[in-house]
Subunit: 356 residues, 2 copies
Amino acid sequence: MSKSNVVIAIDAMGGDRAPDIVLEGAELALKARPDLKFILCGDEEVLKQKISTGSALLHAARFRHADRIVSMDAKPSQALRAARGTSMWEAVHAVKEGEANAAVSAGNTGALMAISKIILRTLDGAHRPAIAALWPTQKGRAIVLDVGANIEADAPQLVEFAIMGEAYARALLGVPRPKVGLLNIGSEDLKGRPEIREAAKLIRESQLDLDFTGFVEGCDIPDGMVDVIVADGFTGNIALKTAEGTAKLIAGFVRGAFKRSIWTKLSALVARPALNSIKDKLDPRTVNGGVFLGLNGLVVKSHGGADAFGFAAALDLTQRLTRQPFQEEIAANLARLRIQGCDRGAEATTTAGAIS
Amino acid sequence: MSKSNVVIAIDAMGGDRAPDIVLEGAELALKARPDLKFILCGDEEVLKQKISTGSALLHAARFRHADRIVSMDAKPSQALRAARGTSMWEAVHAVKEGEANAAVSAGNTGALMAISKIILRTLDGAHRPAIAALWPTQKGRAIVLDVGANIEADAPQLVEFAIMGEAYARALLGVPRPKVGLLNIGSEDLKGRPEIREAAKLIRESQLDLDFTGFVEGCDIPDGMVDVIVADGFTGNIALKTAEGTAKLIAGFVRGAFKRSIWTKLSALVARPALNSIKDKLDPRTVNGGVFLGLNGLVVKSHGGADAFGFAAALDLTQRLTRQPFQEEIAANLARLRIQGCDRGAEATTTAGAIS
């Protein structure tokens, strides 16, 4: 696999409207990056029928047959028992075999994480993988992790998340030295949960050379105060969902306000350019793609309900990441941490997987 | 104290711009409810000088002298050592003495909670007080608690918060049977943290007759799916701050979108009625007032940076609550819980106060 020919294994059967929007998304992504190659995992007959003759996708893709599908509502443990031979399994396995640089699926998140852990295994020094989400901010975009892989995280795990998120931010956001903050309920050193205070201490004492800001609060995420916000998966998920819900609420207020009377309806026509630019900024499709960090291989989760544009955005994010040495950076920093002994205790902690 | 003459003890020296905005806020509140009575706690000389002769406030208020102030950045433990004789202490003490129906302060939250606990003590059966915040939703307003009094909460404590929040919602929102949800990262029964799953079980097994919806996610808060959202103070605070930050972000996007060109600036003029109605809906001043629940007396925290309008909103919220038997309802439900033995274990749990 040369750097110029990125190969992405796609779980073509995963997601609310698969395989149609998956294939449409792949076509869209190809328009932007004609050098991309895909491995479409799923029912070969069905997929071939769905792709129109002459489509660029036929030339850019090869098929990896799988006649089974992971159900969207299966529990991770259930999904795992019947995972072999599913389109999701095949996509992740293509990464393991070195056939693909990364795997993308819009399927069941918990199952995807469980399958990825089984097939790819966690990176040396990473006790648990994390899911990193992109977050629109006043200054551009930030990365928040973990947003749901673990319901708890102890101090050494939070430090690992910081390392993983920092490398990801450098790779994707193009920030040479991403600022890293720990999500807490106050910015003072003495506030908040003990594991978060301990994680701050560990990062400061480490020789990791992270640009560590200290504690950040919920309001600092959309503010863009830091590039990477570190939290356990429970807290990160609550923050992410609350922000999504708030954005939806306000979008509803805006729509409602312009529908109140003939006058406001007319004013909406006049204000359309401005209103459209707000809509674009809040378009969740542009930040689609939850990246699984801490595995021996790259797996990206597209939102299950994303449309073709959203799926294409996840593919674009994936191909960008494959062109960056961020996995190597993570591995190197985790190794440094191990040498310093800062990962002490992580293994002894019982953390029940949020998704298992 | 008759029901028609509500007396509110005001910490006149607490808040970023005290006493000026506090006095202005009190005057505003009086305009809406001329029957209100105040006890203004603070430097009597200073306060009297600030109130203009002929102001209705002079007739509605009496003074309770305090020549000291709790500093806005003092830690709760520090504040507590020097609390006696401060304006905050006097305001809360007026409630204890039965001089006032409630106390309101825009000062240091942690100090106010610590002082309130010392003076008023927690209600029988409430292991810890909680701070409840109002939250604008698609359907009106919801109540979220705890938003910062405790960094952790075990299952019995979460059940107590549910009881306190439910009574508060009935009193303030006028909903006869408020729907109650537990904040979690998935709506399925098996998801999330163990203490939250256990709390759901306790509520279902109790004979409290709460309208309990089960688990809600972050996105369900602004959606208005339930009237009361229960969380530990860490999670609730993260959600609240994240929502505030998101609203600010989007407000910034809206402003920016209408400032891009001459055309969009002109369209903003045309769209002003619609834009103003959005601004009103998102005005944080209308949801000002964090209510301390679980104490033998009512204490309300106004945002430290709130203006006179915001402080008046907190006073209005307070006077509404004093006219409702919600404290009695909380006490009765906590007693019922105790009889059922559902509060088992709460005392054994070590919870470090987020604010202590």
